[in-house]
């Protein structure tokens, strides 16, 4: 299969599985949402106590393990890391805050759009604008530094965590929280969710599908290669939603969404801005973590922590709107991402290393 067909197939599979997962019990327009599902996992682990969003979503471990298995099978599993891990952690943290103010990761944004939720169109403009601004830094030499090869054991840590999460879901010990009501109580059967996660993880690893990467390549070199995957998800999900009657066009009363245009725009602006500096959207971070990228694994932990903070400090939006604390958090996020962009431009990176050489002497 050539590259283009693979991206289209991956996008189509995600579109199909997403609608199927909703049909079998996942929350409306949330067949797959990396941000919402990581948030639910944080809740299930008791990292936040929002009672309506607690479930150990098997789709997320599925993405990580699907990617890990296919990468191991094809010899592409490579433990690596050391490219600005702590900065990536915080980028992941704020990408999550932005996503939870919009109520969805870039993937759910496309799925919401395919179900007629026009708030997601506003968010798409925000997401693209965030990517465009992040690219200004990249064009001026922004880099989080090169990752190094690591001992293979490092690469197995997050896939190990993913297996542990699945085990906890199967065993259901008393310390794991499960929502009785709200989105957390809506879920497809375990095996279907896991199957969908594994298939999407494997296909996304093979195709490199990335919501942020698609728009980035379009802006940067006019190449639509990855963006086609984005379009395939939309077209297939739209077709299926129309067929099964899950399509409702408009801004108001959309499921698990609010219609505050400014904060839909800014939330996804922050998510796009952070994602492009990270080099990939939340889904892509899960896939890279599965391939042995420990920086992406730390980004994942940053997203998990961000999700916990989002609900512990009432930053996340709800269908009734965006709380003031959430708006403040997005503004702080924009400032932090801007600072990370700025201080990783070559003049600052090189100035620091020159100073270090003069202070500590040059290592030979």
């Amino acid at each position: 299969m050539n590259e283009k067909k693979l991206v289209i197939a991956a996008g189509a599979a995600i579109g199909l599985l997403s609608v199927l997962l909703v049909k079998f019990g996942n929350p409306p327009n949330m067949g797959v949402c990396v941000a919402c599902f990581i948030r639910d996992i944080a809740g299930a682990l008791g990292l936040h106590r929002a009672e309506t969003v607690q479930y150990l979503r098997p789709e997320i471990p599925g993405f990580i393990l699907g990617s890990a298995l296919i990468a191991l099978a094809t010899g592409e599993f490579r433990a690596r890391g050391g490219s600005a891990p702590i900065q990536r952690f915080f980028l992941g943290f704020f990408v999550m805050i932005g996503a939870l103010v919009f109520l969805g990761c870039p993937l759910r944004m496309v799925l919401r759009l395919a179900a007629g939720d026009l708030n997601a169109l506003v968010a798409l403009f925000g997401f693209a604008a965030g990517i465009w601004v992040g690219l200004l830094y990249i064009k001026n030499g922004f880099s989080l530094g090169k990752a190094q090869r690591l001992a293979p054991s490092n690469g197995f840590i997050l896939p190990g965590v993913a297996m542990a999460l699945l085990l906890l879901l199967l065993v259901k010990p008393a310390f794991i929280f499960f929502s009785d009501k709200g989105p957390g109580a809506s879920h497809a059967p375990f095996y279907l969710s896991l199957f969908a996660g594994l298939v999407i993880g494997a296909l996304a690893q093979r195709s490199r599908l990335c919501m942020a990467g698609g728009i980035r390549d379009l802006f940067l070199i006019g190449d639509p290669h990855l963006f086609i995957g984005f379009v395939a998800i939309f077209v297939v999900a739209l077709g299926l939603n129309l067929t099964v009657g899950q399509f409702k066009l408009g801004f108001l009363e959309q499921p698990i969404a609010h219609s505050d245009a400014l904060w839909n725009f800014l939330g996804m602006f922050l998510a796009g801005y952070g994602s492009v500096l990270l080099g990939g959207c939340p889904l892509r971070q899960c896939i890279l973590a599965g391939e042995g990228d420990t920086d992406a694994a730390l980004t994942f932990l940053g997203m998990l922590t961000g999700a916990a903070f989002a609900h512990n400090f009432s930053l996340a939006a709800s269908p009734s709107g965006v709380p003031l604390s959430g708006k403040v958090a997005v503004i702080i996020g924009l400032l932090v991402v801007t600072a990370i962009g700025y201080f990783n431009l070559p003049q600052y990176v090189q100035a620091t290393s020159r100073k270090e050489r003069s202070t500590y002497g040059t290592q030979s």
């Binding site: 030499g141 093979r206 490199r208 390549d217 940067l220 080099g279 070559p346």
Partner: protein, 87 residues
């Protein structure tokens, strides 16, 4: 696809900035084009430069003159695995 019928070279870079620097520095000399890294070379999703098949040694010398960081140079021929030309 006609363009796949002939072998071509692909340069991979440590970051997007290096790819963009190569693109602006090398452009006047001809035929290079920035593309997503071909899937068969890497599972990463960065940018690479694609250019007609030529002497890799000379290309390395040019990259050094232009002060462009690169990861590797590959020869991609139809129906074959890409061959890495750099150590």
């Amino acid at each position: 696809m006609k363009s796949l019928a002939q072998p071509y070279l692909v340069i991979t870079f440590p970051n997007t900035h290096a790819a963009l620097k190569f693109d602006s520095a090398f452009k006047e000399k001809g035929t290079a084009k920035l593309v997503p890294v071909p899937r068969e070379i890497s599972s990463s999703c960065g940018l690479a430069a694609r250019l007609p098949d030529q002497d890799a040694e000379k290309l390395i010398a040019t990259l050094t003159t232009l002060d462009v960081d690169y990861d590797g140079i590959y020869r991609v021929a139809p129906g074959e695995k890409p061959k890495c030309l750099t150590p």
